[in-house]
């Protein structure tokens, strides 16, 4: 159904609840039209951040999403107090976003193909990864392994959540371990990096996809650009830490415009079929028999009787 555009107000009086200025081309965009266009500027293609509900609606077959573990909530294990207690920050984020934390996971279908999917939302405390986000990514990966369906994680995060201290840091280890097991067991994983994917999320599961995709111009990096430039007083290369920079340097496979993402995932899923379960592979490996106990279609990759060791 076509959306009726209101007349453009004169004299720069665009009510902010109806209009958004595109930071790239400066054009004023009518919010309803922007939403309908998946929050991509129709004029210049700038990708605004997408909330988790819109992302799920776009990527998954209608009505196929079944959310899991929706009831997980952050606690305050360190009794962390900075200028505002952590529980207050959490409570405020819940009110403004309507979410319990910065990630959702569940199962669904993309063009009929069943997947485990975890989607992050930057609106909840900058998409920061604390125990709940780490737990959801891990449960999604473990479920993908149990059901032997591909895993997709759509990241949007400023990094680890400082208020959970090293418990947040340990979510890097927890999620990497779960992703490493998927690789070991031949279950494929696609990482989709959206603006921004930085810090501890980039330095764990987001970097480890069998296929890594990124949205155009998404900020993807390890350290803050200020830190990176300041430390060594060196000017930054053009496009530093943008999706296209990562593509050029070999860390993402494709930069995919949002409108094409669903079809691209569907196309990839046709190839990314989980390997047949290696029945007894593990027991055999324990006996040093290199996985002969089960059919292993990728066995030739392991080479010379060596066991596969799950390099992530």
């Amino acid at each position: 159904m076509p959306i009726k555009l209101p007349f453009r107000p004169r004299g720069g009086e665009f009510p902010p609840d109806l209009w958004t200025r595109c930071p790239s081309c400066g054009d004023m965009l009518y919010n309803k039209q922007l939403e309908k266009n998946l929050r991509v500027c129709p004029k210049c293609g700038h990708h605004f951040r997408l909330r988790v509900d819109a992302r799920l609606a776009h990527l998954l077959d209608e009505g196929s999403f079944e959310e899991r573990d929706a009831d997980l909530e952050s606690v305050d294990p360190l009794a962390f107090v900075d200028q505002k207690p952590y529980p207050e920050r959490l409570a405020a984020a819940k009110v403004t976003t309507g979410l319990r934390d910065a990630a959702l996971w569940g199962t669904g279908r993309i063009a009929g193909q069943r997947v485990a999917l975890c989607v992050m939302d930057f609106a909840f405390m900058g998409g920061s990864m604390g125990s709940v986000v780490g737990e959801k990514v891990t449960r999604a990966a473990e479920h993908a392994l149990d059901e032997r369906i591909p895993l997709i994680v759509v990241s949007a995060s400023g990094g680890a959540r400082m208020q959970e201290g090293t418990l947040a840091l340990m979510q890097l280890a927890k999620t990497c371990a779960a992703i490493a097991r998927l690789a070991e067991e031949g279950v494929p994983y696609v990482s989709v990096m959206t603006d921004p994917t930085t810090g501890g999320v980039f330095a764990s599961y987001a970097a480890l996809g069998d296929v890594n995709l990124a949205e155009p111009n998404a900020l993807i990096g390890f350290a803050g650009a200020r830190v990176a430039a300041g430390t060594i007083a060196e000017s930054l290369p053009p496009g530093f830490q943008r999706a296209e920079f990562l593509l050029e340097h070999g860390f993402v496979d494709q930069v995919v415009p949002r409108h094409e993402l669903r079809d691209r995932l569907a196309l990839l899923l046709g190839y990314l079929r989980p390997a047949e379960e290696r029945v007894g592979a593990r027991a055999a490996a324990g006996d040093g028999v290199s996985g002969l106990g089960g059919f292993n279609p990728l066995g030739f990759l392991a080479g010379g009787g060596e066991r596969e060791t799950g390099r992530g």
């Binding site: 360190l78 400082m162 340990m170 890097l172 990497c176 066991r307």
Partner: protein, 334 residues
């Protein structure tokens, strides 16, 4: 509470001083680093160089050594003891090729069936453009993933600064030992302070709030064992430090050698799987702890810590800027 022996403000000062002393010790340039400790406690040390892909990173050292005759593969960050060496070693801040050298050695250890001992001492991975364009985040993620599945025992020793992801890249193992004055944190206290307090001057507050001391990391279940340091700290007596550390490592190597490797991998997975604290929301009423015990146990431990050390006092109220939001900056220095 009017008759409490110490005023809350004074207790907070104590807590700050206590945490900050650990930070200063952990960063002391005279503290023994990976190679110094190995020279003091190991024999037949052979260092191996290069990641076979780009170059040799002097911020990470790796090779073979023997502890009481037992062969190990060691991988650790290496700072310098004086300015010139520190510059060459990039102050112990590895580039991706350093972590890739480590991974090369992990693979070799697995092939040879030799246990791995890692030594962690870094402010963090190097955050420069060269590091980014060669994929420092990818190298950290892959190193962590590889360690979690490596089919030989992995003993981790945090000797100084455990600086976030750049430390964890070498610190995912079966057991984690820390020297008494070692610290472990998700971000540097200065970085945390500049983001959450909006000034690096609050680094001491941040050090307290993040619970970064070795003892507090034991309470969190992230560090398993703390080895006491001699005198005022390891920097005063490196030889005695090594003499105390060696039996702790050897005991863990002997203990881990007693497990079947699949058993060990399951335990290693379970170790990290259990890390974190969260609750399950009830449809009505207050959240209830998902795993009764963990959150409560931590709380109890920290309550005890707060009583004995003095806890962080709520920051003085200041007028909130109108534009202040809960969004942390886009990127942080992890």
């Amino acid at each position: 509470m009017a008759d409490a022996p110490t005023a809350p403000g004074a207790a907070t000062l104590d807590a700050r001083a206590h945490a900050w002393e650990r930070v200063r010790h952990a960063r002391d340039v005279k503290r023994p680093h990976t190679l110094e400790l190995l020279r003091l406690m190991a024999t037949d040390v052979v260092e191996l160089h290069g990641d076979r892909l780009f170059r040799d990173d002097p911020a990470i050292v790796a090779g073979f050594a023997r502890l009481d005759g037992r062969p190990i593969v060691f991988v650790g960050q290496q700072k310098g003891a004086e300015t010139e060496e520190n510059i060459r070693r990039n102050f112990g801040m590895p580039h991706p090729e350093g972590y890739r050298k480590g991974m090369r050695l992990f693979a070799l250890a697995e092939r040879l069936g030799i246990p791995v001992v890692t030594f962690v001492d870094t402010p963090g991975a190097f955050p420069g453009p060269a590091s980014e364009e060669r994929g420092v985040a990818e190298s950290i993620a892959r190193s962590i993933a590889m360690l979690t599945r490596l089919r030989v025992p992995v003993v981790v020793v945090i000797t100084g600064e455990g600086g976030s992801g750049g430390a964890l890249a070498l610190a995912a193992g079966d057991v984690v030992i820390a020297l008494e004055n070692a610290i472990y944190s998700v971000i540097s206290p200065e970085g945390c302070a500049s983001i959450l307090w909006r000034t690096a001057d609050a680094a001491q507050e941040a050090a307290v709030a993040m619970r970064l001391t070795a003892g507090e990391q034991v309470a969190l279940g992230i560090v398993d064992e703390v080895v006491p340091e001699p005198g005022a700290g390891a920097q005063d007596d490196p030889a005695e430090t090594a003499r105390r550390l060696k039996p702790a490592i050897v005991a863990q190597l002997d203990r881990l050698a007693g497990f079947e490797i699949d058993e060990l991998l399951d335990a290693r997975y379970a170790r990290y799987r259990a890390m974190g604290a969260f609750a399950t929301a009830q449809p009505t009423g207050a959240p209830r702890p998902e795993r009764p015990g963990i959150a409560e146990r931590l709380r109890t431990l920290f309550e005890i810590g707060r009583i004995t050390l003095g806890g962080p006092e709520p920051a003085p109220l200041r007028p909130q800027a109108a534009d202040e939001t809960d969004e942390p900056p886009l990127r942080e220095e992890i």
